[in-house]
Symmetry: C2
DNA sequence: TTGGTCGGGAAAAACCTTTTACTAGCGTGG
DNA sequence: CCACGCTAGTAAAAGGTTTTTCCCGACCAA
């Protein structure tokens, strides 16, 4: 049926042990060049691939990493996942998908997968919900866990340079001549704090007062509400830094609903660049963050931990946040 | 270390075989109610979960399904994946992620995963590229494979009701009073044919001639080009059915570039509804297709095959395509 | 010759389940 | 009293790797 290591051994005229050690490059093995060749060609001829299950059983390593995210349909996560995917593949690992909300629904499938050793480690993107806490508890007590873009806890984590991105965005608006610059923060997560900090610090350094602040969340609808809040006061900001591109989409709608033209009456810049941003009206100016690299960094961190490394928290600064100028920012009218 | 079936057996005062058979509900097992309870409580107390690897090795079933897509960052695929995810979880299966383009890069990781029995079956979303053909060949000869939204081949597949969706879109435009209705087809895939067919048939039945046809691809940029092509002739269409929502985004840009106002000078309706569609200018009228259900259906199909079923092709008609009226369609000016 | 060392590989255990075949004990009918 | 059948399990094999220990022959030095 399947070709096993014994078949290869027979074909090469050696024992299975030798095949295993040759194929895995065991440095303690003494073997003649000739024999090694026989093994290698036999393996190739028979198109041999070791049984995932048997190997996992014996070595108690599944070469699999779990990946749990909230919303697959969010292109931001898609980007992160692709980065993680690639890094994992390059390291010979494979990615197992889990849906956080499914897990929280009391899914036995995931718990069994974690406990049963189906994955060696877990990448977790959380959003601060109750479901998250449950998952974190279930998983992190059993297998190494790395948080994606989050650093509020004692767990290992890979995060973006939120402060830097926020500074870049705010500085862009300042350079255009804006003074009254508001911020739509994410709310609820640690990223929220860092992004708000970059905005606040940059304004303070420029001698401006960071007065306009509202929660924009990370969905279109929450962004719309937040923007309305920001525009409600008697004195309005002339420019806004949105903590999330989806919130910015909603903010654009809110501006329109308030009778404000973007960018003539109000400039808007958002965190994260997605293809759609270029096709909104007006095209959205954004700060592109290295999402791909974030995913890769998280995987690297996890692999490190699997090799016995300590829990670390890293900030992905390479490549640095990049300003993508489009049509939603302009000098104040 | 890990708690194994032997530990549970010892705690319950029986042999491992009994534990296995009780936990898996072996109907041929004769066991006293009392003994069964002892086993069950022991398993619960020890928080036992069977080893994924050992079980896979013994039963040569990994309870894992592979999922290979092109572009995770595309929200359409995200939607499909979420549907697949859920259906798989409900059936006790877990999803393994693979990136087609990585695979085609000559990745050994995936080939080893397939051959090593890391997955029982594969869900494959292909786009007609050379990479696809390679993957299909590697995989489908070894494990059951189901195609997502594609039915051009001999393989099992789950597809959308493209003709129905296309009819719905075209009829909507006809009802608004349009006669000169064009189509931006996908190009390259079998879906292309079906969607074009729905458009053509509906027009013909209404006594109109299906004259305006161009390739819109499935990216923003190709959609833009296709739309320009459609608008190039001396006599222009007054309305267009776009085969893909991303192409429609590009088409919107193309219309603007041609100095045409949507919907006043040109109506546009697109396949697939995504949240962004509502926030374009103008908000895009779409036909929402059951993507979630498509993913679930594909999983069902795959599980069927794993249980020895025949290769089938299904069309997901439930829920039926749904018209989402927004601002990009209007009676002809 | 003997003792020692080294090269080249063999043997066997262990990893944890599942499954098939089998059995000890007991009651029952003939 | 014996054969039989039933209950309630038991025993053992199998699945494919990896890894540690072990072994045999050859060569070298004394």
């Amino acid at each position: 049926m399947r070709v096993s290591i014994t078949d290869v051994a027979r074909a090469a005229g050696v024992t299975p042990a030798v095949v295993s050690r040759v194929l895995n490059g065991d440095p303690t093995l003494q073997v003649r060049e000739q024999t090694r060749d026989r093994v290698l060609t036999a393996a190739r001829d028979l198109d041999y691939a070791p049984s995932h299950a048997a190997r996992a059983l014996r070595s108690s390593r599944s070469n699999t990493l779990g990946l749990a995210v909230h919303d697959m349909a969010n292109p931001l996560y898609g980007e992160i996942i692709m980065g993680a995917q690639r890094a994992a593949t390059d390291a010979g690992y494979v990615l197992l998908l889990a849906d956080i909300d499914g897990l929280a629904r009391g899914d036995v499938t995931f718990r069994r997968a974690v406990q049963g050793g189906a994955m060696d480690g877990l990448l977790l993107q959380r959003a601060g919900t109750a479901a998250d806490r449950k998952i974190v508890k279930t998983a992190s007590s059993r297998i190494p866990t790395v948080l994606l873009n989050d650093r509020s806890s004692a767990l290992a984590a890979a995060a973006l340079d939120d402060v830097g991105g926020s500074r870049l965005a705010t500085r862009h608006l300042l350079e255009l001549g804006h003074r009254r610059i508001g911020h739509l923060r994410l709310g609820g997560t640690s990223r929220s704090g860092a992004r708000a900090r970059g905005w606040r610090e940059t304004l303070t350094q420029a001698g401006e007062e960071p007065r306009w602040l509202a929660d924009g969340g990370h969905t279109i609808e929450t962004g719309r509400q937040g923007m309305h809040e920001l525009l409600a006061g008697p004195e309005r900001p002339t420019a806004v830094v949105a903590g999330n591109v989806l919130a910015a989409v909603g903010a654009l709608t809110a501006a329109r609903e308030s009778g404000l033209a973007v960018p003539d009456d109000l400039s808007l810049i958002a965190f994260h660049d997605i293809p759609y941003a270029a096709h909104l009206t007006p095209p959205l100016t954004t700060v592109a963050m290295p999402l791909h690299e974030l995913g890769a960094a998280a995987v690297t961190l996890l692999l490190e931990r699997l090799d016995g490394g300590k829990e670390r928290q890293v900030v992905v600064r390479e490549p640095p946040p990049r300003l993508v100028e489009r049509g939603s920012t302009a000098p104040p009218g």
